[in-house]
């Protein structure tokens, strides 16, 4: 069962994400994709994913700076497609630039999380975000 789709190109970030998920009491199911283009193909069932039944996640966590299509383009594509237009989309980025935040919200992001620097802060943020989006606010695709 797919709870979280995490779009992230930095292997360290992905590794730390895997680690903190594994330390959770009830670890959610997740998939990590390392490029924007692949994420779009997956969510829109096109390209390599054409004809496959790709389960939709309950939450998409997305980095902004990605190879191929960047995070903003992914948000735009997701919001423009009827299958995914109500999917909970949370930006998870190092950038604290207000311009990036405004742009993400303008394109339809549901939330914007700035990556903290310390591991403890990261794991605390992830725990609370996952709790909020998967337990408190359950969206059935």
């Amino acid at each position: 069962m797919l709870d979280i789709l995490y779009i992230e190109d930095n292997p360290d970030e992905a590794d730390i994400f895997r680690r903190l998920i594994s330390r959770m009491e009830h670890p959610p199911g997740f998939l990590i994709l390392s490029s924007g283009s692949e994420a779009i193909d997956y969510l829109l069932q096109q390209g390599n994913y054409q004809g496959q039944s790709t389960p939709l996640p309950h939450l998409v966590l997305i980095d902004l700076k990605l190879p191929g299509h960047n995070g903003f383009e992914v948000i735009q594509q997701v919001r423009a497609t009827s299958r995914t237009c109500y999917l909970p989309l949370v930006v998870y980025s190092t950038s604290d630039n207000p311009k990036d935040m405004r742009r993400a919200y303008d394109l339809g992001a549901n939330a914007y999380l700035i990556k903290p620097e310390s591991y403890h802060q990261v794991s605390e943020m992830m725990r609370r975000a996952i709790d909020f989006w998967l337990t408190q606010s359950q969206y059935i695709p």
Binding site: E13, E117, S118
Partner: protein
Amino acid sequence: MKVTPDLTNCEKEPIQWPGFIQSYGFLIAIDPVAFTIWQVSENIEGLAGQPVNSLIGQPLVNLQLGDLSGSLLHDMLVIAMRSGTPEAFNPYPLKLHGRDWLAIVHRHDGALIVELEPTSQLYGGLSKPLHTLLAQAMSDIQRSKTLAQLLEKTAQQIKQITGFDRVMIYRFGEDWHGEVVAEAREEHLVPFLGLHYPASDIPRQARELYKINLVRGVADVNEPRVPILPVNVAQYDRPLDLTHANLRAVSPVHIEYLSNMGVGASMSISLLYRSELWGLIACHHYSGPRFIDYPARQSIKLVSQLLSTVLEIRKDDEDAEVSGRLHDNEQALHQQMTADWDVVQGLTKHPITALDLNEATGAALLFEEELHLLGDTPAPDDILTLIDWLKNTTSESVFQTNQLPNLYAPAEGFRDKAAGVLMVVLSRQMNEYLLWFKPEQIQQVSWGGNPDKPVERTNTGDVRLSPRKSFDKWTQTVRNKSLPWQQVEVALALKLREDLLQIVAGKANQIRSLNEQLRLANEELEAFSYTVSHDLRSPLSSIKRYTEIYQEDYGHQMDETARGIFDRITKASDRMSMLIRNILQYSQVGSSGLTRRLLPISEMLQQLREELLMGETARTITLQIGETPDLEGDQTMVNQVFSNLLSNAIKYTRPVPEARISVRGMQSNQEVIYAVTDNGIGIDMKQAGKVFELFQRLDSAASYEGYGVGLAIVKRILSRHQGKVWFESVPYQTTTFYVSFPRRIS
């Protein structure tokens, strides 16, 4: 009836159809087809032996003029008319009472006009054969080096040919008053050379006539004129038009004018320059009548036409020389401005300046709000006031006058420098003007008689229209005038204006293109900042996080020393991360957009006070907020200014037992100033230069955390707001940072 005492009335006199001829000849006007007589001069009566009215309407063949038969005259005219241009064969020699006479024929006013006039033998012959005199005249013209010399030789030649007592060359000014510029006279006569005569001496319609009929004369001032009868031409209801008739009687006013001068006979020959009357050759005879016959008149006409041609060529040469030099200078100025890429420098800082563009003696350039002066000019304040007056006086791009004080009274104060002004408008919007000045020429003008007193009063006190009686030299001083501005001077001023505007426009384009480059560079910088924030911070985060993870997983196996080492790694990566954040902030101040609006500073300061004092519970700090005038600025940036100044105040008052910090604003018409004061460690003024430099830290601050970025950011933000930042400090007593924001930023 009251007569208006104004000699310009002369201008209304129809001098081309006076209805009279001079008495030395006879005039017959005939029907050019039927050869019947329309009009004759009254003196024909004596010659024909029958009353004039009996001749009118008769065929010419019936006329008998003494021993001259009408049929001879008739046959001659028939042949003349057959050629189509009877004027071409003038004169037609005749014998009248055994003497040589000439018939001069021309067609005008619908009539064939026949004038009979004697040959010169009647009044004495010429000193030399005509062709010899003419040849001499031509060689003199060729040999003269200057215009003055040429005119004088011509006057002498004409005097020799005609035998007049005085021959003057009279030159018209712009206002049509005349000046005697050359003279040949009998020795006993008072010289008229250099005298001026008012324009009314030769009225407008006379000048018009002189352009058509180049030679005319009065053979004897004292002889009564002879009427032409009947008075009116049948078909016109007015007298015959005598424009081209040599016998035409001149106006009685002119006869009176000549008599007043003591002139017995006169002749004048027109000098034309480019179809306009340039001057006259005026001949006066004082010792009785003088008649110049047709062949001599033709010769003089030839000489005058020759002189006119030479005038044109000479004047063209002179103009061409001056104009060539000025054009070269204009070219040079253009090149200088282009090469310097600077209008002011190009016009004022080389051997050739704007002053070499014309004959002006001073020039002023008001450009980019600065006044630059060249040569002899009025005082700067006078020039600025003059420009204010000029720009409201004219809406044209060029203005010129050679009598400024007569238009603008304050100019009398500096007429010795600027009685004449030529101004070109560079830009009304930018208030940019270029002016040239010519000084006053105080002229002593000598008039042939007082020109203001042309009117005579009779004994009874009635005003009578009459030319003046006295032609004695009368000197007048003319003030407030400079030399006039020549066509070429105005033309070149306009050309220079075009060159200058082209350079100004070129510069504006260059600035636009530099701005565009700057904008692109800023965009690149922003992209770079983004990369820095992301790419440098990500690996740093990894270092930090894995250090934490290592401590979490293997911390229990580590001893004190190992834990200490890990602490250092964590702290170093914290510092680096803070540094990157600061650099990013600093660069964003320069590159990100600025949104100005009126900011409620009071709220901003209260919120900052709350945030900043939150972590300082262990100390006694009073942060007092005074007057808080609103100011216009970018909210994020202004917030950062106060945040940085207040955190510094908090940071550097740490060693003080009771920290007292205050922030208060003041406003004037131009600016809003905020002052942040503390009683902290302060700044040694010896190191004042370093305070706002990026990454510069003072010795006294070495033990405090920081990277030397905060105040550099403050300075950068203020400079982006066209504001200022400065400080005063007495260490451990009072240190104040001031920031000033301009009001009403456009």
